[in-house]
């Protein structure tokens, strides 16, 4: 077990180093970092000063080491647009994105699981076919298009829900959240649904195939033979077993949802990191872009590591397979 965790940790560190190398190469080594890193209206003296203070007169490997050491000290440069440390900007906006992602995960589970169960328990019925067709739609519609349609239907045509912003924030247990006020919840519904739609389709399909694989197994027959009620068989015996892969997938998808939130946040003007990164890319605010990429990739790698470790506790085959 310990050796498995250590091996996975080493892999994660290698990936992190690779990412930092790519980001470094992209932003600092290719092109003229001076143009990227200082404002265009700088004087000659300021440029010379910057070259020295950024260490650009040093050899490339020294520059990389310096970049890494700055990064490890939490210094990722200062945003040109906001004139604030980039890392601070990201950390300010991260809660809004995490809120959106968490709500979307919850939505995906409370909608996807029942749909998957309903489809899986009556395979090839009209209900099953309807749900499956719906899930194909959920998969193949580009997420930005789904978002636009949600806005068109619920904001423009029906006028039920607001289409942009986060609404009034309140405080629950010391956390600023849209969930605390009715206005906030109204603002949250469309973006969360937009981010969740793809995952709803995914969880529905996973649940359905899990149910279909599990129902014919001996232990289910045995549970029935013991005279248990059908609802107990399904909700306790079957559901417990199919939850393991679903929980794993949800864990893995959490990271990708943070990346996908860029689309949702752009459509709904949600003030999170996704909106920030798109704005920063367009305004060539490189320090913020670098900070975002490093932070999100790190979160993503840590999440995957966590999921792998949890999974290896749940399923001994993973541990044994990795030890070979």
């Amino acid at each position: 077990m310990t050796s498995f965790i250590i091996r996975r940790l080493c892999q994660s560190i290698v990936i992190l180093i690779l990412t930092s190398l790519i980001v470094f190469a992209g932003v600092y080594a290719i092109g003229d970092p001076i143009q990227i890193l200082i404002p265009a209206d700088a004087t000659q003296a300021e440029i010379a000063q910057a070259v020295h203070s950024l260490g650009l007169d040093q050899p490339l490997y020294r520059q990389y080491l310096q970049f890494v050491s700055h990064t490890l000290h939490g210094d990722l440069g200062t945003s040109f647009v906001f004139n604030q440390p980039a890392i601070q900007l990201i950390l300010q906006r991260l809660p809004a994105t995490l809120e959106l992602v968490c709500i979307a995960v919850v939505l995906a589970l409370i909608i996807g699981l029942p749909l998957g169960l309903a489809a899986g328990l009556r395979p090839d019925s009209a209900l099953d076919r309807g749900i499956m067709t719906g899930s194909i739609l959920g998969f193949s519609l580009p997420s930005f298009w789904q978002g636009i349609m949600l806005v068109l239907i619920f904001s423009v045509t029906l006028g039920w829900l607001p289409s942009s912003g986060r609404g009034t924030l309140g405080t629950i247990l010391g956390i600023h959240t849209s969930l605390a006020t009715w206005d906030g919840i109204r603002h949250l519904i469309l973006p969360a649904l937009n981010l969740a739609l793809f995952k709803i389709a995914l969880i529905t399909r996973l649940t359905r195939s899990g149910v279909r694989e599990t129902m014919p197994l001996d232990y289910v027959k045995f549970a029935r033979a013991k005279g248990l009620r059908e609802s107990r068989v399904v909700y306790v015996h079957v559901l417990k077993n199919i939850l393991i892969p679903i929980v794993t997938v949800v864990g893995m998808e959490f990271g990708s949802m943070i990346a996908f939130a860029t689309v949702t946040e752009t459509i709904f003007a949600w003030p999170g990191v996704g909106k920030l990164i798109i704005d920063s890319i367009m305004k060539l605010d490189r320090p913020v872009v670098v900070a975002y990429l490093l932070i999100v990739v790190t979160m993503f790698i840590l999440l995957n590591l966590l999921v792998d470790i949890v999974y290896s506790f749940l399923d001994p085959r993973v541990r044994l397979g990795a030890a070979e």
């Binding site: 990936i15 690779l18 790519i22 992209g26 990708s256 990164i277």
Partner: protein, 300 residues
């Protein structure tokens, strides 16, 4: 000419099988015909579109924001309406489809070439080459596509070539994985042994013997990845970090229209969106059908 015994005997051509598979299913046939018509419309756009939407002389600014089915002040008929600048939406969509399809097809072709070559090499040489390539594939597939594309575009900047490069970087891994899986099995068959005994060079053994037998999964994947590339490009352009405004793809049309949609001008955004959906859907349906047709396990 390769000796007759080196050919894999008793098989119809892959293309014939795929075509038969599509024709056997009504939805797939409809999708394929629709796709063909759309591709034609896109290719022939400069000749058959009602106007050239990017030639300032041919658009009338006074005809701006007209709903579908209106007639402009000079008697032009706008079946799908006009955008803010008075551009005929139908023409803009045909030109947009042209851009979207080129990005999709070019991405698919490049990703296919890179991925197939690496996948074949991984299976053929095995050992360290295999480990290296597959590690790289795992790494790429471990990250969400949009994050990789975002990272590349943040570093490279906007542009048609850069979008294609970013999407190829995302997609080659799927091809490499699929090709390797097939090639590992093919590698152990007698015809490969024979090829090696004959002393064929690595290059010939790889490309003239191994490659033709790994084609079916590649075709299916290419179809689906082209659709994915079109959708991904639309997403990136919608975000404003994909194509520049001088090369308006469907995604950009949708993005421009989105600003107007909140003011009630739904058609500027919705029609390009519907077209995008039809293209992506049709490709997926045809791709699925070809996959089933080429899957030996599903054949009687």
């Amino acid at each position: 000419m390769k000796p007759a015994f080196l050919k894999n005997p008793g098989r119809e051509t892959t293309f014939g099988q795929a075509l038969q598979g599509v024709l056997d299913s009504r939805p797939a046939t409809v999708a394929a015909i629709a796709l063909l018509a759309l591709v034609l419309a896109a290719v022939l756009a400069p000749w058959i579109a009602p106007q050239n939407p990017y030639d300032l002389a041919s658009i009338t600014i006074l005809d701006g924001r007209m709903p579908p089915g209106s007639t402009g002040i000079y008697g032009d008929y706008y079946i799908l309406g006009t955008d803010v600048q008075g551009r005929d939406m139908l023409s803009a969509m045909m030109y947009g489809l042209r851009t979207s399809l080129s990005v999709g097809v070019l991405t698919g072709l490049f990703a296919m070439s890179v991925g197939t070559t690496l996948g074949l090499c991984a299976a053929y040489f095995g050992g360290r080459v295999d480990t290296l390539v597959m590690r790289l594939v795992d790494l790429m597939l471990g990250f969400p596509a949009i994050l990789v594309a975002l990272m590349m575009l943040a570093v490279l900047g906007q542009g048609l070539d850069k979008v294609i490069l970013a999407l190829v970087a995302v997609q080659w891994a799927y091809f490499a994985r699929a090709v390797r899986a097939t090639a590992v099995v093919e590698r152990r068959k007698e015809y490969m042994e024979a090829a090696l005994c004959l002393g064929l060079s690595h290059r010939r053994a790889l490309f003239s013997q191994l490659l033709p037998n790994c084609v079916p999964p590649v075709i299916v994947l290419a179809m689906i990845q082209i659709a994915n590339a079109i959708a991904a490009e639309a997403t990136l352009s919608f975000l404003g970090i994909g194509l520049p405004v001088t090369q308006p793809s469907l995604g950009l049309l949708i993005a421009n229209g989105y600003q107007q949609m909140l003011a009630g001008l739904y058609w500027i955004s919705v029609f390009p969106g519907v077209l995008l959906l039809i293209v992506v859907f049709a490709m997926n349906i045809v791709g699925d059908r070809i996959r089933d047709a080429l899957n030996p396990r599903l054949q009687k």
